[in-house]
Amino acid sequence: MRGWRALILIALALAAWEITARSGLWSPILFPPLERIGHQLWLFISRPEGFVQTWTTLYRTFGGFAAGAIAGVILGMLMGRSAFVAALLDPLFSGTYAVPKLALFPIFIFLFGLGSLSKVALIFLECLYPMTIITYHGAQSVNRVLLWSAQNMGATRARTLARVVFPATLPYIFAALRVALPVALIVAIITEMISSVDGLGYVVTYALSSLRTDRMLAIVVVISFLGLALDRALVALRNRLVYWEKLDTYYV
């Protein structure tokens, strides 16, 4: 087990938390004991209410993520394989890369309403950037010899795209998905914290407003677990689909 030292660190942190909570120096609102957080976690998991809120957040996350991923892969492939499309779109993507798209949220609220659509639209936009940029980079760096061979053997343009360029770009696409998925979850939570009446982000702010820190921390645990589980699932899927390339670094 390689991570045993890290486990010690986590155990130490939990023990320090518990000692702080029990010492009586701070109010239990600031540092609720672990047992109360665990109890709230159990309440959240065992009630249908918790599932409804989690589902709302996941539904927004996946909606925006899926749309952003599909559009991003298409745009990235087009940009990578056509200098003309790249010349048109590259200034947009590289110029507005560092601009927080979140600033568009108030305008999206007016455009798409207060419900899920404005949030999904923002998640779509935030996912579109890493998806397009990384796919573009991948489609650009396809081994030229492979392309020449395919042409030589009489493959049409569409066939080359489907059988050579797409598989060669797939590792990059998965790297992009892995960047975009946590972003989608983060944006879903942020938008729910800013303006919403449901979803996990709303529950967090609601718990804080009612000074139920134990409940808030329980939901923080749930959100952390969701982020982790989604990432693991994506890595598992990647290892099955892109079996020819080992994942040795975190990014590409």
Binding site: R2, G3, W4, R5, A6, L9, I10, I29, L30, A83, F84, A87, L88, P91, S94, G95, T96, Y97, A98, V99, P100, K101, L102, A103, L104, F105, P106, I107, I109, F110, L111, H137, L181, P182, L185, I186, I189, I190, M193, I194, G201, V204, T205, A207, L208, T213, M216, L217, I219, V220, I223, S224, G227, L228, L230, D231, T249, Y250, Y251
Partner: protein, 248 residues
């Protein structure tokens, strides 16, 4: 050359189409490009815009500095020393996909609703890309270079300063670029959730009072700041690493 013309033509056409659409009676919240520029120039003459922009930068930049400093230092340490690697890396990679913004309410309780909690959450968000990139940058040092340096009598400190660090710098800059973009996003998010100043606060105020002109002014300002920060970082990178060709 042909592409440059096509590019300029394309974006000019998009802007003209937007302008015409807005003039033909789009909803109030879709402003024409000309109007946006007009409102922005008008806002440049007021003191409030500078105060808000300054308040935002005073949160984003210290958070970015603290987060990347710790991230790079610990990432390099984990990249070259096994003990640090085993202690830190599993923890960092485990918590990496966790949305850090959910800690904001907790930080607000611990450090108050003022700037400290915001700077801390920005630093936390910036820590991760800085750590991960510095870590992989240091680990990707070719072994032969370390061996050669050792062979020629370099000690550990010299190897780190002359071999590992220059080799890791391109990755470190890549991490800083991600962290900078992130610091602006988190800054804006925290200001929209709760703040009394800053561009995020301005856009919420504008939204609540239906001042669409101010919404666009805040949007344009944050866009310019984000773009300028990114350019500055890329310029620094080019100056520091003249041997590296950026493909970003």
């Amino acid at each position: 050359m042909r592409h440059t013309v096509a590019r300029l033509g394309f974006w000019a056409a998009v802007l003209v189409a937007w302008q015409l659409l807005a003039m033909r009676g789009a909803p109030d919240y879709v402003l024409a490009p000309v109007d946006i520029v007009k409102h922005f120039v008008a806002a440049l003459g007021t003191r409030e815009l500078y105060a808000d922009a300054w308040a935002s930068l005073a949160r984003a930049l210290p958070g970015f500095a603290i987060g990347t400093l710790f991230g790079i230092a610990l990432g390099l340490a984990a990249g070259i020393r096994r003990a640090f690697d085993e202690l830190l890396s599993p923890l960092v990679f485990l918590t990496y996909p966790v949305p850090k913004i959910v800690m904001l309410p907790l930080f607000m309780l611990w450090f108050g609703i003022g700037d400290v909690s915001k700077v801390m959450i920005i630093a936390l968000a910036c820590f991760y890309p800085a750590f991960i990139n510095a870590y992989y940058g240091a680990r990707a040092t070719p072994r032969i270079l370390v061996w050669s340096a050792r062979n020629m009598g370099a000690d550990d400190e010299q190897i780190f300063r002359r071999v590992v660090l220059p080799g890791a710098l391109p990755q470190i800059f890549a991490g800083m670029r991600v962290a900078l973009a992130l610091s602006f996003i988190v800054m804006f998010a925290t200001e929209m959730i709760n703040a009394r100043s800053g561009l995020g606060h301005l856009i919420r105020e504008a939204e609540n009072s239906m001042r669409f002109d101010l919404m666009y002014v805040s949007l344009v300002t944050i866009a310019i700041l984000g773009y300028a920060g990114d350019r500055l970082l890329r310029y620094t990178r080019r100056r520091t690493l003249p041997w590296e060709q950026s493909h970003a």
